[in-house]
């Protein structure tokens, strides 16, 4: 299990870094923003899911991942609103956006 975690850590770090390097060179910034919601952790998670548990497991992961992705949309919209609100410092904007993700993700999962 520990070796799997190490593989996940390294693969996840590399994929995320690769996507953000692409995002870094793109202009305008709104286009670069697309890559902030790139399927980086998803690719690592689903690849290892295929490898260790097979396609049925991955199909199950993907069905709830769709809910997580809707929550990601909620994160981005909350972030957009909070970053534009004067007097909201960066850390509070991040915290508020994360709260939006958790509420949406677990709200949708509970409802489904």
């Amino acid at each position: 299990m520990w070796s799997e975690l190490v593989v996940r850590f390294i693969a996840g770090g590399l994929v995320v870094m690769a996507f953000s390097a692409v995002a870094e060179v793109l202009r305008p910034k709104s286009l670069a923003g697309l890559f902030g919601a790139a399927p980086s952790v998803a690719l690592v998670t689903l690849s290892l899911g295929f490898l260790h548990h097979g396609p049925t497991f991955v199909a199950k992961e993907a069905s709830t991942m769709a809910l997580g992705a809707v929550a990601m949309l909620a994160y981005a919209m909350a972030s957009l609103w909070l970053v534009r609100t004067e007097r909201v410092p960066a850390w509070l904007g991040t915290l508020g956006s994360l709260a939006a993700w958790f509420l949406t993700a677990f709200g949708l999962k509970g409802a489904s």
């Binding site: 890559f35 980086s40 919209m77």
Partner: protein, 153 residues
């Protein structure tokens, strides 16, 4: 007039797509390290979640915003609030693409080989995100003010 405007746009208007390779060097090593750390930690955490709570909860966290908190904060630091807002807006298009990505994987995981499922899902992610971005650009773009011919002297 239309042809001229198109020419102007492609020649490098405000919204023209550009690649700025020097930006890679402008980003400090510690900023890449932060992203590596975020991505690595979240991916490993998803592994732990998967062990403890199974694929349904792990799936949720496969769409956890691993890099977004870091990038939005860094963009805000470098380029100010308005750029950070643009970054977030872009991420919302990416997120819609991510929903489609997940649905594609869900529909095809048990029918296609793993590499093809993930490759096809990644392509649809990019296609959907780019299409929404281009559409939003078109909707937000105000038509240029009519140009009056220069007065003749």
């Amino acid at each position: 007039v239309t042809r001229l405007d198109v020419a102007n746009l492609t020649r490098g208007g405000r919204d023209a797509v550009e690649l700025d390779a020097s930006a890679v060097k402008k980003t400090k090593p510690w900023e890449y390290a932060v992203r590596f750390l975020f991505g690595g930690l979240v991916s490993a955490a998803v592994g732990l979640v998967s062990h403890r709570w199974g694929p349904a909860v792990a799936g949720l966290f496969a769409a956890f915003p691993a890099v977004l908190p870091a990038t939005v904060t860094l963009v805000r630091l470098h380029d100010g609030r308005e750029s950070a807002a643009e970054d977030s807006r872009g991420a919302s298009f990416g997120a819609v693409g991510l929903v489609v990505f997940a649905l594609v994987v869900h529909a095809r995981a048990e029918q296609w080989p793993a590499w093809l499922v993930l490759a096809w899902a990644a392509v649809t992610w990019l296609a959907v995100a780019l299409a929404l971005w281009a559409l939003a650009l078109r909707l937000h773009h105000h038509p240029p003010a009519p140009r009056h011919p220069a007065p003749r002297s």
